[in-house]
């Protein structure tokens, strides 16, 4: 697993609050047993309706890798297919006013940072990207700064996720499994794991 601490690339502004995961990837595309190919369906219904005017279709934003959104982005369903679709389209980091909890957790597990900044900064950045889509954004997780043109602003990210990204431990699985003895000790002190069940009448041991 690689460390994620500095992300540079062009930005893609996607204005709007409460953009839910059904819009990011409609449920019919969840009929699959791998995440492959989801990138081409990201925002598919919104894009069809916008008929070429959706930011993900506009030529000036092709190749962008930092997505700039507003409040409560990724609300609704827990489907990891949503951040998978965004990442497979080419996005490496998200900058927004706020993110839904489960969505941000899914992004972290994929090594995709979600950082936040105030509404005024986000709007300023979105406007800047609409005016000049060619400029490079620089997101620095070591110093929690975002730079574009001659501007530098502070961004926020909770310390736990930030450390996991910087240390390259954002895929927590290995770290979690390594604690098997401590996990079994915790299980040992949970009373409900040691009660028999009414139907079976015997102890379901953990």
């Amino acid at each position: 697993m690689s460390s994620v601490s500095l992300l540079q690339g062009r930005g893609l502004p996607l204005p709007g609050n409460d953009i839910d995961t059904d819009r990011i990837i409609p449920a019919r595309f969840l009929r699959c047993i791998t995440f492959e190919g989801l990138g081409e369906h990201v925002f598919t219904d919104d894009r069809a309706q916008a008929a070429g005017r959706h930011a993900f279709d506009q030529p000036q934003y092709q190749g962008a890798s930092l997505l700039v959104v507003n409040a409560n982005f990724g609300c609704g369903s827990s489907r990891e297919h949503a951040p998978q679709a965004i990442a497979r389209w080419g996005i490496r980091a998200l900058i927004g006013e706020s993110f839904a909890e489960i969505f941000a957790g899914n992004c972290l597990a994929m090594g995709v940072p979600c950082v936040t900044a105030g509404p005024e900064i986000i709007q300023r950045l979105q406007t800047a990207l609409e005016t000049d889509p060619t400029q490079t954004l620089r997101l620095d997780l070591d110093h929690l700064t975002l730079t574009w043109g001659n501007q530098q602003v502070s961004v926020y990210m909770a310390e736990g996720p930030r450390q996991m990204l910087r240390a390259g431990t954002w895929d927590a699985c290995g770290q979690l499994v390594a604690q098997t003895d401590a996990i079994r000790a915790t299980a040992g002190r949970l009373p409900y794991l040691h009660w028999g069940s009414a139907a079976q009448g015997s102890a379901q041991s953990a």
Partner: protein, 467 residues
């Protein structure tokens, strides 16, 4: 920072340790899986050569993609059939208990775990589904996770998490007839907003909540996530214990008293400290219907759709988007709005008491001409119990279709979908754009009794006129 709440106690008890990042490694007491969010997780386990650490703590069922009209295998939808086969194989290979169609125990994951007594107070519960918050009705800390986290739970029975803050939401007073748990939660979300709960666990309390049945409590907790709260819970009490007693996985008779004592001890202390507290008065809640494209865009049936200037500034843009998408105008009443499809079911409102309330409204009345109305029980057990009471006959006689259990048109991953710009009266939980299977389809969320009333009127109606 909260102290002495059920959330704090359950969190502390399930803490395995602190990870180098500072996050908590939290033990998950019950893991529920289904066909949509688990195949990639099992694939990752195979890639890494990892076993399932506690296979007896994971339970699987199939709900999202199952057809509700013809469940014969193979499914007509080959993609759905592939997902079924993947789940069957994964459960077999990794030794996970699986409630398949026809087992008598299949159903929506958030319906079957409580009805079998798998869901209990004081547990941590995770599932690759955001409506896992439902299980909080029992005083469990239950929340939705993504597929990588499903992998983590399978491999380690733990997750890496940051602790949430706790907001106590009190509801006091008497609900008027025709106002149900669904109206209570739609009312709460409307006032606290769809992002008000981000970073919080919601503790629902107060005498109104205390008088709710377990099934109604599940409806309230189910929609915590629509308010942005990853989990919501209600402290366990005598209602909880009475519901659990004698269920398949409830503690055995010899350990029942010990279990009740422990569950009682896990409830929030009278002097618990909360990060925030709000309260609502039950008498002010009317039958509530959503008019927009977020579950927070709701109004009482007597009210009119709000004008933008009546809304907080950061909600105006999405309100404008909603008027346009829904083809509804501010100042308009929803009462009398023509509907095309009426759907009763889902993890929010697909339980026996939901069907009983809807049947009370349907009894002796007929679905309006041209309306497609259907009832999807939440589980095979709910279906069997409803049929034992003759509810299916009431629905069929009224002109409703009576289906087999599954998630159905809540998210339309199966053949049950809106067509074109159809508008549905739905007892489900999300009115997002395109949610019910048509990119232009429109959803009005309401209680199951209100859906039944809408089916009979052919338009949004006030259920109080039908009581």
């Amino acid at each position: 920072m909260s102290r002495g709440t059920l959330f704090d106690k359950v969190w502390d008890l399930h803490t395995v340790g602190t990870l180098p990042s500072g996050q908590t490694q939290l033990f998950i007491g019950l893991h529920l899986i289904h066909e949509v969010t688990s195949p990639q997780a099992f694939a990752m386990l195979r890639e890494r050569g990892l076993p399932v650490l506690f296979p007896e703590r994971t339970v699987a069922t199939v709900d999202h993609i199952v057809p509700t009209e013809n469940q014969a295998r193979p499914f007509a939808d080959t993609l759905a059939e592939d997902m079924m086969r993947a789940l069957e194989r994964n459960c077999q290979d990794f030794g996970v208990r699986f409630y398949n169609i026809g087992s008598g125990n299949q159903g929506i994951v958030h319906v079957i775990a409580p009805e079998q007594g798998l869901t209990q107070p004081g547990m941590t519960i995770a599932c690759g589904d955001s409506h896992t918050s439902t299980h909080g009705a029992f005083g469990a800390i239950a929340f939705g996770i993504g597929t990588s986290q499903v992998r983590d739970v399978l491999a380690s029975q733990t997750l890496a998490l940051d602790k949430l803050k706790v907001r106590r939401i009190e509801v006091n007073g008497n609900l008027v007839p025709g106002v149900y748990a669904k109206d209570v939660i739609l009312h709460i979300i409307r006032h606290l907003g769809v992002k008000g709960g981000v970073g919080y666990a919601y503790e629902y309390a107060g005498d109104t909540i205390a008088r709710l049945s377990m099934e109604s409590r599940m409806t309230v907790c189910n929609m915590s996530i629509e308010g942005g709260a990853r989990c919501g819970y209600i402290n366990p009490d005598a209602v909880t214990f009475a519901y659990l007693q004698d269920r398949d996985f409830a503690p055995a008779a010899g350990q029942w008293e010990q279990a009740v004592a422990w569950w009682t001890s896990m409830a929030s202390e009278p002097d618990a400290v909360y990060d925030d507290q709000v309260s609502f008065q039950a008498e002010t809640i009317s039958p509530t219907v959503t008019w927009g494209i977020t579950p927070g865009q709701g109004v009482g049936i007597d009210e009119t759709i709000p004008h933008p200037e009546a809304l907080p500034p950061d909600e105006r843009a999405i309100a404008e988007e909603a008027y346009h998408y829904m083809d509804l105008l501010p100042g308009q009443k929803l009462l009398g709005t023509k509907v095309d499809v009426c759907f009763i079911g889902s993890c929010t409102n697909g339980r026996l008491s939901d069907l009983q309330e809807a049947a009370r409204i349907a009894q002796g009345r007929c679905v309006a001409p041209g309306i497609k109305a259907f009832v999807v029980p939440g589980s095979e057990r709910v279906k069997q119990q409803a049929e034992a009471e003759g509810l299916h006959e009431v629905f069929l006689a009224s002109g409703f279709e009576w289906r087999d259990p599954g998630c159905s048109m809540c998210l339309a991953m199966n053949p049950d979908k809106l067509q074109g710009r159809e508008i549905s009266a739905s007892s489900s939980n999300r009115n997002f754009k395109g949610r019910q299977g048509s990119a232009a389809g429109r959803t009005l969320l309401m209680s199951p009794a209100m859906v039944a009333a809408a089916a009979i009127r052919g338009a949004v109606a006030d259920v109080r006129e039908f009581l």
